[in-house]
């Protein structure tokens, strides 16, 4: 007799756990029931991301690099599962390589963008990059490579993220969440919501505890979301869905300049 396979319930990914939407709602996408996140889920995710940011920003760059590399390891292990819900196996391979590329940036970005500044006075003056805080991401297509390309530079710099997955192809985002959950990513550093963009994006863009917005995946509503983001002077980025660049890391880094006196 043929064995009946156990089907997966696709849920949200918040604070390292896989809760259903507090609203109890689901919708059908790619033939599966997926969580239809509510505004309350989004607020919970932002709150948890904010809390997780304290530890993640403090983690050593070496540690963050290893966690990102561990994500790539977990993705490699689940390559088949990811490929089943991604656009192609090639997309999965490129996504894995992208994470590895960013993992290596963790302990180099400060050396590339930081400076020691020769001021005209008896001060040691230096500038270092620091994470900006919680970054909201509208994941662009293709659903895995786009998400990974925008997420990796955000977290490697020490930010935490609240991601709204592709509305049309959300399954691979939850598959990725399962990699994240087993990759020593501290709970809350990455939070992934599935559901309807128009129900979630404006609340993400206007949330006062979100410091940056990656709108690469936004379509017609980008201008309105950017406008909402101005309420707390959010850093807004529209990048490339398939890009990798240290400038994508610095887009969500603040620069801090410290003046330290020199004297005996």
């Amino acid at each position: 007799m043929k064995r009946l396979p156990v089907q997966k319930t696709y849920k949200l990914f918040i604070g390292g756990a896989f809760p259903r939407s507090e609203s109890g709602r689901t919708l059908v996408a790619e033939g599966a029931n997926i969580g239809r996140a509510s505004r309350k889920d989004l607020r919970d995710a932002v709150r948890i991301a904010r809390q997780a940011g304290v530890g993640w920003a403090k983690a050593t760059a070496y540690n963050r690099g290893q966690v990102l590399y561990r994500i790539a390891e977990m993705m490699e292990t689940r390559r088949t599962e990811l490929a089943a819900v991604a656009s192609s196996a090639g997309e999965v391979d490129r996504a894995i390589d992208r994470v590895v590329w960013y993992a290596g940036w963790a302990d180099k970005i400060a050396q590339v963008v930081g400076t020691a500044n020769p001021v005209a006075g008896p001060y040691f003056n230096f500038t270092v990059p620091e994470p900006t805080g919680v970054v909201g991401i509208l994941a662009p297509e293709p659903p895995l490579l786009g998400l990974v390309s925008r997420l990796s530079p955000v977290i490697v710099g020490g930010n935490t993220a609240v991601v709204i997955a592709s509305e049309a192809h959300p399954l691979v985002a939850i598959e990725l969440a399962e990699c994240l959950a087993t990759a020593d990513v501290p709970p809350g550093v990455v939070n992934i919501l599935t559901g309807l963009r128009k129900e979630l994006a404006p609340w993400l863009a206007s949330h006062m505890d979100v410091s940056g917005l990656d709108l690469t995946g936004a379509d017609g509503d980008a201008a309105e979301l950017e406008r909402l983001g101005a309420e707390n002077v959010k850093r807004v980025v529209r990048g490339k869905a398939d890009g990798q660049s240290p400038y994508d890391i610095t887009a969500f880094l603040e620069l801090k300049t410290v003046w330290h006196p020199i004297g005996m």
């Binding site: 400076t115 500044n117 005209a120 006075g121 309105e224 603040e254 330290h260």
Partner: protein
Amino acid sequence: MTERKQDVARRADKAPMATAWDYAPAPEARDIVRIQERYGLFIGGKFVEPLSGERYTTIDPAREEPLSEVAQANKADVNRAVKAARGAFEGAWSKLRPSERAKYLFRIARILQERSREFAVLESLNGGKPIRESRDVDVPLAAAHFFYYAGWADKLEYAFPNRRPRPIGVAGQIIPWNFPLLMLAWKIAPALAAGNTVVLKPAETTPLTALLFCDVIRQAELPPGVVNIVTGDGRTGAEIVAHPGVDKIAFTGSTEVGKAIQRTLAGTGKRLTLELGGKAANIIFDDAPLDQAVEGIINGIYFNQGHVCCAGSRLFVQESIYEATLAKLKRRMKTLRVGDPLDKNTDVGAINSKQQLEKITSLVQSGIDEGAELYQPPCTLPERGYWFVPTVFTNVAQSYRIAQEEIFGPVLSVLTFRTPDEAIEKANNTPYGLSAGVWTEKGSRILAMAQRLRAGVVWANTYNRFDPASPFGGYKESGFGREGGRHGLEAYVALDDT
């Protein structure tokens, strides 16, 4: 500057308690400056009559006397300036070799140095700031800024690894009234170094040094249209922001206006940098060198009448040294000389405008109403002009408006803390994040505090230091983008893949 300050600190320490010294007047001669009766707009390398046909009076806030009539540029005027800037960008300026561009900027730096006294006097006349500050801080720093960025003009490819930087185009730049010439330099120098052309609007109340700068441009023989200066109030600024021919907006001013600009530009793809308000914490630990710290507190909040976005307007004192600090602070405040900005002995000059004086007055009233305790040293103010006595509030709760809102005046709120954690928690408890100060003899504590303070600039055992090589700009609602240093170039380049 630092040594002199420390010297002052030492002397203050040895000085008898709060003797009011008599100083003979030491006015700086104002005849070095020739102010025209009226000014047009500087567009395409020459002064033109405003198409708006409107002018307004700019005054000396210390005497409430008119200085000149300046143009109120309207939409048509802004359009004309943007066209001139576009023409220059597509014409002579972008065809110029970067090394030649550099030499224009070096020229400007040198001419500013040569004419520094003229600029200092005019800055103090039109803005109300003490001549000591415009002479020793504003003007030298403005010249240094041009000198610094001049050298970048032909070295841009070294600033952006693996990218080919190119200019963005026409930059619209809107600057505030607290450091009129210095803010002009912060805006124009990096923009030109990167190969852009600019339309700059000085603040409504302080247009005169920007208009005098046009003569520096003439002397430097800068190609027409590379720098255009349009004067006017907020309406002129709004026209620059909304103009479709402007590729980049750089704004320094209030957070409220900054947010409005960000909203206006949403979805346009125009580049934006914002340097907005602040409510900086100046944190004094019990092991701090107290006399130096008191000088730093004074410099942090009373420098330039407190019209400083990074002013140390919230003082956090560790509880064990609260009384000693307050006593020294009050004693030092009694020696501050408030009065004629052109007098070389003046420490605190005139409030920049009537409107600003009203804002300060009403916020100070709110502090009294909410229950804070006010202290002002005995002080005789001139009869005419806009003045505000250096003020300190104690018994301040974090929720009070004077602890939350940017006053932009000589008003200090004093709060206390017990542990470093508490200091951090309170210091970061504001939507702003521009700057902060830390005073302690312990180096590791300086770095730990610097790491945890959410602010773009942290001064340790000093305050309100600026340098062209040092990036300046905010976290959170204090804006984004940096001015100064290599990072300041980023606002003015587009980065192509190599």
